[in-house]
């Protein structure tokens, strides 16, 4: 890619987002290791360029749905790290009041309609959100993030067919990190994968190097423009690599060390930094972006640790209006 002033600015902005995602998840992993965060975390370290590139192509009023590995999607869409970290810590002031945790981060104020603990769970929700937005006269689109494992679940087929039938404003984003939980995706996926499946249904699709943030942004911008023109849904297939285990407690020792090392050499943040440096951006600028992100997330961690626990009575709130059980005295 040639480096114009415009795409240098874009690249710096993408780098900031990716650094913030990385720093958030590293702070959360440290918090988990220190026993501060209850329950497992699914982190997306090594996959930040997909969230950053796709969300940079979206408007504020566009919506996203996410999956169990959704910290990056939320931050890239604009969710504030403070309430997010408090949610991971199960504290008052978390986005979900401590009822959701890492797997159910949502921030409706920035169009983040929720992470999801069920693989492919966000796909029907995304197409319905797009259908509802159309009914309300909006031209907002819905970007739907899911992994390579989701293409083997029925809602993937149903949702693509549905979105194509009504030419809904949906960007399907298959974040292909090469592994479905503890199993290589290619060992459990027949045929040519997400792009071929989408095209068979009539949803135009393309693959991109998901560790190249600028390439992800370019493809996402082109697809978002087509979708908003009313040309129907698109599927963006981003090839990336999950550098760590399935959860924060999974060492992923079964993986080929050489493959992981090779993937580490292609990881997206160092690549973007190298590109920026080669195009004349001072290393000091890049280091400052990293340091700012780390400081921001260290603050979020410290604030989360200091935040109060939610009142036990709040466990009884927001179940239902009619037929709710009483809060015990």
């Amino acid at each position: 890619m040639t480096a114009s002033r415009g795409n240098l600015d874009h690249a710096l902005s993408l780098l900031r987002t990716m650094r913030r995602i990385r720093a958030f998840e590293e702070a959360a992993l440290a918090g988990h290791k220190a026993g501060e965060i209850p329950g497992p975390l699914h982190v997306s370290i090594g996959q930040e360029a997909v969230a950053a590139g796709v969300c940079a192509a979206l408007r504020r009023d566009d919506r996203i749905t996410s999956n169990h590995r959704g910290h990056g999607h939320a931050i890239a869409k604009g969710a504030a790290p403070g309430p997010m970290m408090r949610e991971l810590y199960g504290r008052a002031g978390g986005f979900c009041g401590g009822k959701g945790g890492s797997m159910h981060i949502a921030d409706f104020s920035v169009g983040m309609l929720g992470a999801n603990g069920v693989v492919a769970g966000g796909i029907p929700i995304a197409v319905g959100a797009a259908q509802g937005l159309r009914l309300l006269g909006s031209d907002a689109i819905v970007a739907c993030f899911f992994g390579d494992g989701a293409v083997n679940r029925g809602p993937f087929l149903e949702g693509l067919n549905w979105a194509a039938l009504w030419r809904l404003l949906v960007l399907f984003v298959c974040e292909d990190n090469a592994v479905a939980a503890f199993t290589r995706a290619d060992a459990v996926t027949a045929g040519a994968g997400a792009v071929a499946r989408a095209e068979a249904i009539g949803v135009p699709a393309a693959s991109v190097d998901g560790n190249d943030a600028l390439a992800v942004l370019d493809l996402a911008e082109a697809m978002v423009a087509s979708i908003r023109r009313g040309e129907g849904p698109r599927l963006l297939h981003a090839r990336t690599f999950r550098l760590l285990g399935h959860t924060s407690t999974d060492p992923a020792a079964w993986r080929d060390a050489a493959e992981v090392e090779a993937a580490r050499a292609r990881e997206p943040i160092a690549r973007l930094e190298a590109w920026l440096a080669a195009n004349g951006v001072d290393r000091g600028v890049l280091e400052a972006i990293a340091a700012d992100a780390e400081a921001e997330m260290a603050r979020a961690r410290a604030e989360a640790l200091a935040a109060p626990w939610p009142a036990p009575a709040s466990a009884f709130a927001d179940v239902q209006d009619v037929g709710a059980v009483p809060v015990p005295a």
Binding site: R63, T65, G94, F95, C96, G97, G98, K99, G100, H104, A106, D107, F108, L113, G114, N116, G117, V118, G121, I123, P124, I125, A126, V127, G128, A129, A130, Q131, G132, L133, R134, L135, L136, S138, V142, G154, P155, E158, G159, N161, W162, L165, A317, D318, V319, Q320, D321, V322, G323
Partner: protein, 319 residues
């Protein structure tokens, strides 16, 4: 009843432009004619005939609710909801709670259920108890045209997700329904008849058979206090407890399988409230724990019939 249900949904779609309906064949009027004329009245954006994709019918309804519309999710018949259980149980029922109140699943899921004209095991089920067990949802199971219409209006206006069990076998029932259908509150039992001999609690299709059975007992002078719950979550515990406190005899009748049916919850709550000595006799009457068979004599063998209800009430009254 089907016309009462049709009018209730039509009234609400005229009242609120955010209400729309999605499901298989709804633009053709729906399987039972409950949406007849809707396509012409409201257009294809609000009357959406979908593919046979139950997961996405349910999940899309949720997504559309999260951005501010109020979908009626038509499941065609209840048994097909099993193909959409993730979207119903893991998503719709929990979204408000999991996200700390940020989103509301203001949907009505319509599920015509129950035994119906020898339709066999996958088209006749009554599993309403599953959903009474599920936090986050309202569960409605009416038995008369007026109740069905009033409760459907209330369900569509509810901000909570409502699981609306249309009673298939009662679709042909007739009754007075006002021109302007008012919402009927949930958890308000309907007193079908009054008496002191025993309290009989029922809902949905079994209510029709209970009405016939208790009418014939009434002709013999056995007058029972009959309550049609109309909604089973929430349910009218106060009315049931007050009645049993008076009669001290309780029979719960439902079409669903008896073990672990919602009747067990009714009995348990009454015993908790009145104490183990508060009742002289108690009886649940439901189907045996077998799937619904096809052949008429086989289906009849497992059905909760008027005769079985009469016998159960006689036993309890005599105890």
């Amino acid at each position: 009843m089907i016309e009462a249900l049709r009018r209730a949904a039509e009234q609400e779609m005229r009242r609120d432009p955010r209400v729309w309906v999605l499901g298989e064949d709804v633009a053709r009027g729906g399987l039972f004619g409950q949406y007849r004329g809707f396509l012409e009245a409201f257009g294809p954006d609000r009357v959406v005939s979908t593919p046979i994709s139950e997961s996405t019918i349910m999940g899309a309804g949720l997504g559309a609710a999260l951005v501010g519309t109020r979908p009626i999710i038509e499941m065609r018949i209840f048994d097909f909801v099993m193909c959409a259980m993730d979207e119903l149980v893991n998503q719709i029922a929990k979204v408000r709670y999991m996200f700390g109140g940020q989103g509301r699943a203001s949907v009505v899921v319509r599920m015509p259920h129950g035994m119906w004209r020898n339709s066999a095991a996958q088209h006749s089920q009554m599993l309403e108890a599953w959903f009474a067990h599920l936090p986050g949802v309202v569960v409605v199971a009416p038995s008369t045209p007026a109740d069905a219409a009033g409760l459907l209006v209330a369900s569509i206006r509810s901000d909570d997700p409502v699981l609306f069990f249309d009673p298939k076998d009662l679709f042909g029932e007739t009754g007075e329904v006002p021109d302007e259908i008012e919402p009927l509150p949930f958890a308000m039992a309907r007193r079908v008849r009054s008496g002191d001999a025993a309290t009989v609690v029922t809902w949905s299709a079994a209510a029709r058979d209970v009405a016939r059975a208790t009418e014939s007992l009434g002709r013999e002078g056995i007058e029972t206090d009959v309550l049609d719950l109309r909604s089973i979550w929430p349910w009218d515990e106060e009315a049931v407890v007050a009645s049993v406190a008076r009669t001290r005899r309780l029979v719960v009748v439902h079409e669903a399988v008896e073990p672990a049916g919602f009747g067990a919850e009714v009995v348990a709550r009454v015993v908790e409230r009145l104490g183990p000595g508060g009742l002289r006799a108690v009886r649940r009457l439901g189907a045996p724990r077998v799937p619904v068979p096809f052949s008429p004599p086989l289906e009849t063998a497992i059905r909760v019939t008027e005769q079985k209800i009469v016998a159960a009430i006689r036993d309890v009254v005599a105890a």
